[in-house]
Amino acid sequence: MRYLPLTDTDRSAMLAKIGAADIDALFADVPAEARLSGPIEGLPLHQSEMAVERHMRALAKKNLAAADAAFFCGAGAYRHHIPASVDHIIQRGEFLTAYTPYQPEIAQGTLQMLFEFQTQVARLYGCAVANASMYDGSTAAWEAVAMASRVTRRRRAVLSGALHPHYVETIRTMAKFTGDEIADALPTIQGSPDITGLIDRIDDQTSCVVVQYPDILGRLTDLAAIAEAAHAKGALLIAVNTEPVALGAIKSPGELGADIVVGEGQALGVGLQFGGPYLGLFAVRDPKHVRQMPGRLCGETVDAEGKRGFVLTLSTREQHIRREKATSNICTNSGLCALAFSVHLTLLGEEGLRRLAAENHRLACLAADRLARVPGVLVLNDSFFNEFTVMLGQDARDVVRRLTDKHILAGVSLGRLYPAHDALHEGLVVAVTETTSEEDIETLASALEEVLA
């Protein structure tokens, strides 16, 4: 490979080859309003480093950051306290890498850490085997759907209406290229998820049923009943979890009969970080399915002298060996995020995770009780962990905007999640974690009283 800049001729040749008119055509999928159309406003083309920093800092101040507000946003990304020691440990030379290595056995530190990570994920999810991680929760959900097609040799996935709409979009996008049929639905605005409706949609062509647990509205569902119904039709149950801290308080999906358990690991160790990079978790309950798993898998073994060591195992599933017949095109993992997750969870320990989960739930109960006393507010959920949905009797997006002016980030409105569905617009998903103080809850409740009055 030559490390020389491309010439205009090189560029035209490459664009001609792929049939793109110009470089901008490659960004057609980014909405026009999200693209920068010219120089940054107020910044001349030539300016000193210090002046640029000053200008950018002023621009950044227009944002209202999570740590500067009473913060109740969740819906798939959660703010938790990450101990300072996590950042310190992940920067150690034995560990620090963004990827699984391509000459893996020389990086025993990384492999050992991944082995521990897989063990943690498998135990958290109640599964036999977890992989070394995926890109994020939504792509892990798609990989689970694709895996279910391989296992069952069927091509119809039934998605619960209460699966995160961004996950649904990711699954739909990928299914465009594989021909899988995706049967999705909208969430029902009820205290409990519509299990009967979901079970009725399973037929003998169904490869899998995809259920979020807790769901997009924060509700808990009877996974065991859905697992039984899916298995009776020869389909697999895929459970999706977006808040791993919940598993310190509720039964694991694997214990309840889910065949594949996937989710977002961001809540532990990773931080909100403007939406990414995040951490996809992926595990299977039954070891017989391991060959159909996507992604990298680290295993423990012994070397020629009988000493304990770690390897990447079952690589023949992977693209660098199996080519187009690989289980997935992922040939990497989210190494650094997986490390942060693993370090955070190790520092917590099992007991620490249970205490953290209990504190999240306690504060969420306080918040739900307090908000229920606000005139015009209806708390929807019959059950929840650290997130619940309130109905506001008016478009929640407007309420969120007005509360933002008061430095309160009140939650994620269903209007934002489902912009095309007016019937859902009065809903607001409110998340409460250990970072939420009782004062924050009072601030939200009293501001909501004013705004709704």
């Binding site: 040799r153 060959r291 023949t316 060996i321 199996r322 017949k325």
Partner: protein, 123 residues
């Protein structure tokens, strides 16, 4: 029963309207320890020269091609529990699948045991 060989190192043994397919002793020797075999489901249509199964050793995953066109009638379930049968008995108990013979003339281009032996000697 007549047995034929392909230059991709599959063997096929004809028994009336059906045939049994596996990989040769030479092939298993080249692949090394077999750890997994992915077999076609009964009912699958396979075409001459197209991939029909996958054999996985500790170092590689390789396609196994159908020597002739036909419909798979049976897959060797014993390989699921004991893939090493392909190493120990490649041309016997380590067979892969049975299929119907759509066009017997497709067998004409294949090698017999003597021709296959000299083919391997030349490799």
């Amino acid at each position: 029963m007549p047995r034929y060989f392909t230059d991709e190192h599959e063997w096929i043994e004809v028994d009336g309207d059906t045939a049994t397919v596996g990989i040769t002793d030479y092939a298993q020797g080249q692949l090394g320890d077999i750890v997994f075999v992915e077999l076609p489901q009964p009912g699958t249509q396979v075409a001459k020269g197209k991939d029909a199964a996958v054999v996985e050793s500790v170092k590689a995953a390789s396609d196994v091609y159908a020597p002739i066109t036909g419909e798979v009638t049976e897959a060797n379930g014993a390989l699921e529990d004991d893939p090493a049968l392909v190493n120990s008995a490649p041309e016997d108990g380590g067979w892969f699948f049975k299929l119907t013979i759509s066009d017997p003339s497709e067998l004409e281009g294949l090698m017999d045991a003597a021709a296959y032996k000299s083919f391997c000697d030349g490799l």
